[in-house]
Amino acid sequence: MSAALLLALPIAMFALLAVCWPLRHTGRFAGMLSAAVAVACFGIAVALFASGRSELYEYPWLVRSGHVIASVGWRLDPTSASMLIVVTAVAACVQIYSLGYLSHEPPKDLGRYFAWQSLFIFAMVGLVVAPNLLQLVGCWELVGLCSYLLIGYWWRKPSAGKAAVKAVWVTRFADIGLMTGIVVLYGATGGFAWDHVLAPQVATAVAALLFVGVMGKSAQMPLHVWLPDAMEGPTPVSALLHAATMVAAGVYLVVRAWPIFHAAPDVLVVMSWVGGVTAFTAACIALVQTDIKKVLAYSTCSQLGYMIAGLGSGEMLGGYLHLTTHAFFKALLFLAAGSVIHATGTNDIREMGGLWRKAPWTAGLFGAGTLALAGIPGFAGFFSKDLLLEELFEAGRYGPLVLCLAGAGLTAFYMTRVMCLVFSGEQKERVHHAHESPFVMLAPMLFLSVPAVAAGWFAGPFAERLGLEYHFSVTPVGGIATIFALGGVGLGVARYGIGQLTWLAWPAAATFLASAPVDRLWAAAWRQGLLPFARAAGWFDRYVVDGLINLSGWVALEGGERLRLLQTGKVRDYVYAAVVGVVLLAAWGAMQ
């Protein structure tokens, strides 16, 4: 058994569903097959991780005069093996869940959905096991493609189409940096390996350029604008791509290319600030969202900010650990949110309330996810966030640290708000007809809730596997973070659960940010910048470049018309012309 299977199975599944349309059009059966493959992949990933072995296989993909420019293949090491578990576990859960969540879809569409899900597993596994940056970037684009296709799953809906296209435009804009980065890396080292020792300036340039790509994919300010829109896709897609795995690819890239980033301290400082600002502002925006998926989307931005800030401290473990724990609890939260939406038929949390009586399992699972995300001691998110903040403190990055700490309080507050508005209080009209989700949806959530609660307890062995050290200890920073988290929960319960503290209006900052000034800035750049520029180019081409060519054609035509008049057909005129010619020639001859 090897990592090759993890690549071969999903791509074979995709090819089968893509080519064999009768199978695809069965819908549900195709979905079950695809889900079975996903589960098998999870099994293989666990076995590979348990065996603890390393593999490296490279096939020369691009060759130039005998030597290899780029290879493709797989590299199995503790980092990729652990990430594989995260990816396949969430993917398998999401696919099983989708069987229930999308059960009312037309069979054709369902088959298409699962074909793309399989393609996504292939692309994401390819990204995780990439032996070099070129394959990583290649698969990075492929997961972007899956994101485009899956956001646009309901392609008849205009808003879904817009969101899908926007996601590609923004992330590919960031990829200008990423592509340039690997071109520069090739120029410096003649390859795409990330463990070459680079000169400091080169390392800084490469790391900075790669980080631009990371900002796009991992939705960092100000390139986060595509992620909330991406919620147009089906909720399981949001859970898998836009919360747990694909958006974390940016963070994973930093973890993989750690030697490059580690050699670029300036870039690390920028990273921790970008991460800190994202963590705080996205949390602010999440405070005032009324769409349950949008709350979680901004929360994802915010948590990705934590990871980036953590990596910016110069230590890898905190950010990476947070990636893994976040993948589990955020996927759980999204699936639970999907269950809520499935039950009530709306995304708007103001129309919900008292749902816990109708859907107790969902309420409990959402609650578990909330506690993990809020960083309540004992739950998974607590350990990783604590470690990450500690690293920031040790590195002396106090600015980002303060932003992250404030964000921790806000996180607890907005999640408590959602919990209270959705599950407690009076039952609104929508909730009267609500029902608990079927087992096929609850089972994956139950499965995910285990690591969402307990993953943090294994941080020590996890770190050991990566060759790093981790010991939990109570520190002042952790203490403050815990107080903030508990305080956030307390205030949230007081405000939304009990209905006290109504004076706790939205801070001006949250309201302002929620009006999406960054969004508007980008939209203006598009409408008032790029589009007119393109139109100007089109006009210039039609009327200036082409105009000159038409002018020459016109001159030829008109000139011909005029010259035609010389051919009068009268002998007299021709004799005149001949005489004038003879005289001129004679004069010329005389002058010689």
Binding site: E141, V168, G553
Partner: protein, 505 residues
């Protein structure tokens, strides 16, 4: 030994001759003869690829016959690595083109005669070693276009405005006769430049033989003016700015198979000429002018992409994207690096397949909807899902999605640009790919996504029988060459390694 190259070159000509004697009414015979010719050429291209020994390199499968002894003009054909790749491209595109126009009814016999003649010219250019014969083939490839567009083309009036509007009305801009005339005249002016360049080489070296010319030493002063002459001459066909404007009008007016072959294959003749004749035979000129060639290529890439973004007519969008993508070819050529040149030739193949697929699809949509205005369409995926899938594949290849051929080509060119020390070129190319993503996905969304198509489009149907063959052939090749680039890259690389040292010596 089977003379594969002659078979490839002559089979379209033979078929065209046979068609002359087929009654115009017998549609089936016309189709079968054309298809047979395209199959023979395709099989021949595959046989050449199989027979070509990569380890050995150089020119292989050579056949020589003296044509005009006194002038030293010979029918001298052989194939190198670049030739193998481009023969494959031409064979595949012709094969797909015949299927894509399977349903043509208007004077179809004449159409296929001209089309096959044109393709014979293309094959001839890629394999000729004698510059005179090469030029002859070049003209054979270019001239039928005039009739093909003028007779079977489509007219779409341009609403001219502004101070020069009178010019546009006078010239009948947008008409198919206008497009045919403009294309032919511009390319013929280019031919004049090429002829001057070729004669200058003959004057100094006393031969038309490319192999001998490769070893000749041309004076620097001659190279300095002859190279730009060849660059502009061939470059006009490759869509080099500012001599690209025949392309949008020409491609928009041309019938489906003609657009496919013209954008897919003929434009490559230009780029091939610039590289194989201009750069390899005139190395000093090439080195001196490389910066200019690259700079103009950058304009092509970005300006072409912006032009495509500004268009509302689907054919114009695709035509401008060709201008942009041919810029990538010229950029790769200008880098004078192995990666850049490999990328340039690979881009010729990738773009040929991609744009062939694009034009096949555009023709298919136009045949059904009788409209090319992107923003008047919408929701077409419900009525033509197959077309939507292949359009998306072509679009993804053009925006550089890994796994499809376009990515490999563009990426190699970017690497080459960086190695050449021109970071602006690399950056411009990457930005161009981003702009491509904008206009391609915008078009995909406007045409195929959204709520069901407008009422008048409900009757539209998906691709049918023979059309599927065209779409699947081109789409499958894009995927195959993109995921296993060495299928063609190994051929390209061996030729690049022969020629680049000749330029850099």
């Amino acid at each position: 030994m089977i003379p594969w190259l002659s078979i490839i070159v002559l089979s379209p000509l033979v078929a065209a001759t046979v068609l002359l004697f087929v009654p115009a009414a017998s549609r089936a015979v016309t189709r079968i003869v054309s298809l047979a010719a395209s199959l023979v050429s395709l099989a021949g291209s595959l046989a050449v690829a199989y027979a070509y020994n990569i380890a050995e390199g150089g020119y292989q499968l050579r056949e020589t016959h003296v044509l005009i002894g006194a002038l030293g003009i010979r029918y001298d054909v052989a194939v190198d690595g670049w030739g193998v790749a481009l023969l494959l491209l031409t064979g595949i595109t012709l094969f797909a083109g015949v299927f894509a126009t399977w349903t043509l009814e208007d004077r179809d016999k004449d159409f296929y005669i001209l089309l096959l003649t044109l393709v014979a010219g293309v094959f001839g250019v890629f394999v000729s070693l004698d510059l005179f014969v090469l030029f002859l083939f070049y003209e054979i490839a270019v001239l039928p276009m005039y009739l093909l567009i003028g007779i079977w083309g489509s007219t779409k009036k341009v609403e001219a405005s502004g101070p020069f509007a009178f010019l546009y009305r006078k010239m009948d801009v947008g008409g198919r006769e206008y497009a045919a005339m403009k294309l032919t005249l511009m390319l013929l002016i280019g031919s004049a430049f090429i002829l001057v360049g070729i004669l200058a080489m003959r004057q100094e070296a006393g031969t038309f033989d490319m192999l001998a010319l490769g070893n000749a030493h041309f004076s620097r002063s001659m190279q300095m003016w002859a190279f730009p002459a060849l660059w502009l001459g061939f470059g006009t066909l490759a869509g080099v700015f500012p001599f690209h404007t025949w392309s949008p009008d020409g491609h928009a007016a041309a019938p489906t198979a003609v657009s496919m072959l013209h954008a897919g294959v003929l434009m490559k003749l230009g780029a091939f000429g610039v590289m194989r004749i201009g750069m390899v035979l005139l190395p000093e000129g090439a080195q001196a002018w490389a910066v200019v060639v690259g700079g103009v290529a950058v304009i092509n890439i970005v300006y072409g992409a912006l032009g495509a973004m500004s268009q509302k007519d689907l054919k114009y969008v695709v035509a401008y994207s060709s201008v942009s993508h041919m810029g990538v070819v010229m950029l790769g050529a200008a880098t004078l690096t192995v990666n850049g040149w490999n990328g340039a030739i690979f881009q010729m193949v990738a773009h040929g397949l991609m744009t062939g697929l694009f034009f096949a699809l555009v023709g298919l949509i136009y045949n059904r909807a009788h409209d090319r205005e992107i923003f008047r369409m919408g929701g077409f995926a419900s009525v033509m899902p197959g077309v939507a899938v292949f359009f998306t594949i072509a679009g993804l290849s053009s925006l550089g999605m890994p796994g499809l051929a376009g990515f490999v080509a563009e990426f190699l060119v970017f690497l080459g640009a960086w190695e050449a020390g021109q970071w602006v070129w690399a950056l411009a190319g990457i930005v161009g790919a981003w702009v491509t993503a904008i206009y391609v996905l915008r078009a995909v969304r406007a045409i195929f996504w959204g709520e069901g198509p407008p009422e008048r489009y409900h009757h539209l149907s998906d691709a049918k029988g023979p059309e599927w063959v065209a779409l699947i052939t081109l789409g499958a090749c894009l995927i195959a060459f993109g995921s296993c680039p060495r299928l063609v890259l190994d051929y390209i690389d061996v030729a690049t390694n022969t020629y680049l040292p000749m330029v850099l010596k």
